[in-house]
């Protein structure tokens, strides 16, 4: 299984780079993963990551984009409740990229 080294510790990830054990995740690791894509995590980024982690805790699955958009809109105001805003923050896709930083498994979406 692929591993990444972070703060002297080996962390298991899947073939697409998603952290395997939720417990391995930390805020520092999120920034470390974002660094690889040249992204500096701002408060706006963290709002999404925190929402994803909360949702995952409750439902054991990453939310579909529709739900993410709606909830972010509710919590942070309508101007942020759209996919364009989310893509600005996460050009690699709010589901795929943000979930990876949030330490969630890769979203499956459609089987």
């Amino acid at each position: 299984m692929p591993q990444i080294e972070f703060e002297g510790k080996q962390i298991e990830v899947d073939d697409d780079g998603y952290v395997i054990n939720l417990g391995d995740w930390s805020e520092g690791l999120a920034q470390f993963l974002a660094d690889q894509d040249d992204i500096k995590l701002t408060d706006e980024h963290w709002e999404i990551i925190n929402f994803l982690r909360d949702y995952y805790q409750k439902y054991q699955i990453a939310p579909m984009i529709k739900i993410l958009v709606k909830e972010i809109g509710k919590a942070m105001g309508k101007e942020k409740g759209n996919t364009k805003y989310l893509y600005q923050l996460y050009p690699g896709g709010p589901a795929k990229q943000a979930c990876r930083y949030a330490g969630l498994p890769k979203p499956t979406g459609c089987v």
Binding site: M1, D14, D15, D16, K58, Y59, Q60, I61, M64, I65, K66, I67, K70, T108, G109, C110, V111
Partner: protein, 564 residues
């Protein structure tokens, strides 16, 4: 690893014969053309052999020492168990009728994607181990030794077949190459060599009832979001029930409809239509998956996963079942469920409570397809429809391989679409109905790491869409399969940008006029309906709405006549 651009991909297709022969051409496992290997935790979760972490792109697949024995023994067992396999191994004369019928061959030019040659990968082993000629004459009799390279080659190509069965339509002997792939995958499975995209959903389904691993509260939450959207867009407040004992009908749909666009819009369509009819039905958060990825592992696993449908129907005490828009789900139901899990003698022959139609075609199964149910409603004038709401759409219909070839379900979807849309054009006849081309991503191959392969396999279907797109301005590809909804969305974006993808019930609900409904200005995606945005126009339209006359020519499609 990027997917090549469409024009690059097309240029690489070379359909001319190659030298040396296929047995002497080594197989290279190319990135973009294979899926990640099955994960240890998933194999472990479903009790499959050889759970371990492995990467098909690496040399060592971590197989047990006696791997070869296991495969040969597995083949022997299956030759004894399945008469079809034995026949299919023996009777092929390699006439080549199937060669250019496979979407993967047409899209890749790889000779080993000719169905005959893909089957030959296994046949050559069969000949070597189980026929006298093969044992003595070896290569001259088309036989070869099972080596690790051969094993890997089988893995690579049996996961480049979507079990769509288009080739079987053209085989003069009626050889079902999908069955060869199915057995091939069973043999690979004996060594833990399935793919992650299949075993992950199977493990989820085994433990949680659906491929996505949605727990009951996640299912309800997902539907609640849809309920909110429906109210916002249509003003109708739908109130579905869950796990309700004593309901007349149980509804089961693929979980993709609950959790991925554009399947969710199809799901909103079911919710609206059932609500409008006042149907006495329930969802189940346990039998929460219509699809069956177990079918892509082993026969036994498919049977196990499918068991929950009847079991839940019995527990809830419903009379019969409606199944949602799905492809392989219906092949499994139509061809296997009764023998696997039946007889469902605790259920009744489906009778539509709205029209009185008795569906004798489902006498044994006790389950009908949602589109069958809707076609009957329309035929009996039970839905108030305004197809002009879909006038901005020019629609074509993609027959799912499994509903078309696996159950002969071809007229009902067209009848429904033609009743709710004014502009419909079929694709060329050698690409639809029983000759339909696969979406390119069926049978568990709709992962993201094999996008290169998926786009190759999707080319023939996309090419036919492009034809009607250019000729008739088609801008919507309708279908009745959850995998199609996901897979065709990617392949249209890639090959024919501008063509959207939708399930049939999304179109139905967009055309439906609901009781007491004001003007409708947005569709189920929350987008403005062209021509419906103006206040005055909308009112005029509302006045002129008439219940659509049924179309006689397709009347036979909707099952038996009403019994009353």
């Amino acid at each position: 690893m990027g997917t090549p651009k469409p024009e690059e991909l097309i240029q690489k297709i070379d359909l001319t014969p190659q030298w040396p022969g296929w047995m002497d051409t080594p197989t290279e496992i190319k990135p973009g053309n294979f899926c990640w290997g099955a994960k240890a935790k998933d194999l472990d979760g479903i009790g499959f052999p050889n759970p371990r972490e492995w990467n098909p792109g690496e040399e060592d697949w971590k197989l047990p020492e006696n791997w070869k024995e296991i495969v040969i023994e597995g083949l022997r067992e299956r030759l004894e168990k399945y008469r079809t396999l034995k026949v299919f191994m023996d009777i092929c004369v390699r006439c080549g009728a199937c060669a250019d019928k496979c979407h993967f061959f047409l899209g890749s030019g790889d000779p080993k994607n000719m169905p005959v040659l893909r089957a030959e990968l296994l046949r050559s082993i069969y000949r070597r181990e189980f026929t006298t000629a093969g044992k003595i004459l070896g290569k001259f009799a088309g036989a070869r030794e099972l080596t690790m390279d051969v094993f890997k080659e089988m893995w690579y190509y049996f996961f480049q077949c979507t079990e769509c069965r288009r080739c079987s339509v053209f085989c003069p002997f009626g050889i079902d190459t999908a069955e060869i792939t199915i057995i091939g995958r069973e043999l690979l499975n004996l060594l833990g060599c399935n793919i992650a995209w299949i075993t992950g959903p199977v493990n989820n389904c085994y433990h949680k009832g659906n491929h996505l691993g949605l727990e009951p509260h996640a299912i309800m939450s997902s539907l609640e979001y849809m309920i909110d959207d429906i109210e916002e867009y249509t003003g109708v407040k739908v109130e579905p029930t869950f796990n309700r004992k004593g309901a007349e009908i149980l509804f089961i749909t693929p979980s993709g409809d609950l959790f991925a666009d554009p399947g969710t819009f199809t799901c909103m369509g079911y919710l609206l239509m059932f609500h409008e009819l006042g149907l006495d039905y329930t969802w189940s958060t346990y039998a929460s998956e219509g699809g069956n990825f177990g079918f892509f592992t082993t026969n036994e696993m498919a049977k196990r996963l499918n068991y929950k449908m009847y079991a839940e129907a019995k527990r809830l005490g419903v009379k019969w079942i409606i199944g949602g828009e799905c492809g392989h789900m219906w092949r499994v139901l139509n061809q296997y469920m009764d023998t696997w899990n039946g007889p469902a003698d605790f259920l009744e022959v489906p009778v539509s409570p709205i029209t009185g139609t008795r569906f004798d075609n489902a006498k044994q199964l006790k389950m009908i397809h949602a589109v069958e149910f809707t076609a009957d409603l329309i035929k009996n004038n039970k839905l108030k429809l305004d197809p002009s709401r879909n006038d901005h759409l020019t629609v074509t219909y993609h027959d799912s391989c499994n509903t078309a070839r696996g159950m002969g379900f071809m007229d009902e979807p067209r009848y429904v679409i033609n009743s709710v849309c004014n502009n419909f054009f079929d694709m060329p006849e050698n690409t639809i109905r029983e000759q339909t081309f696969c979406c390119g991503s069926g049978s568990g191959l709709n992962a993201s790491e094999n996008m290169d392969l998926r786009m190759k396999g999707g080319l023939p279907r996309a090419n036919a869409v492009k034809y009607v797109n250019e000729k008739h301005g088609v801008n919507l590809l309708a279908n009745i399969c959850a995998i199609d909804r996901a897979a065709l969305t990617s392949s249209m974006d890639y090959w024919v940008p501008g063509v959207a993808v939708a399930g049939v019930h999304e179109l139905v609900a967009n055309a439906m006029v609901f009781k007491g409904q004001g003007k409708r200005t947005v569709d189920l995606r929350g987008e403005d309906i062209p021509g419906m945005e103006e206040e005055e126009e909308a009112e005029e339209a509302a006045e002129s709405i008439a219940v659509q006359e049924p179309q006689e020519e397709a009347a036979g499609a909707a099952g038996e006549e009403g019994s009353e």
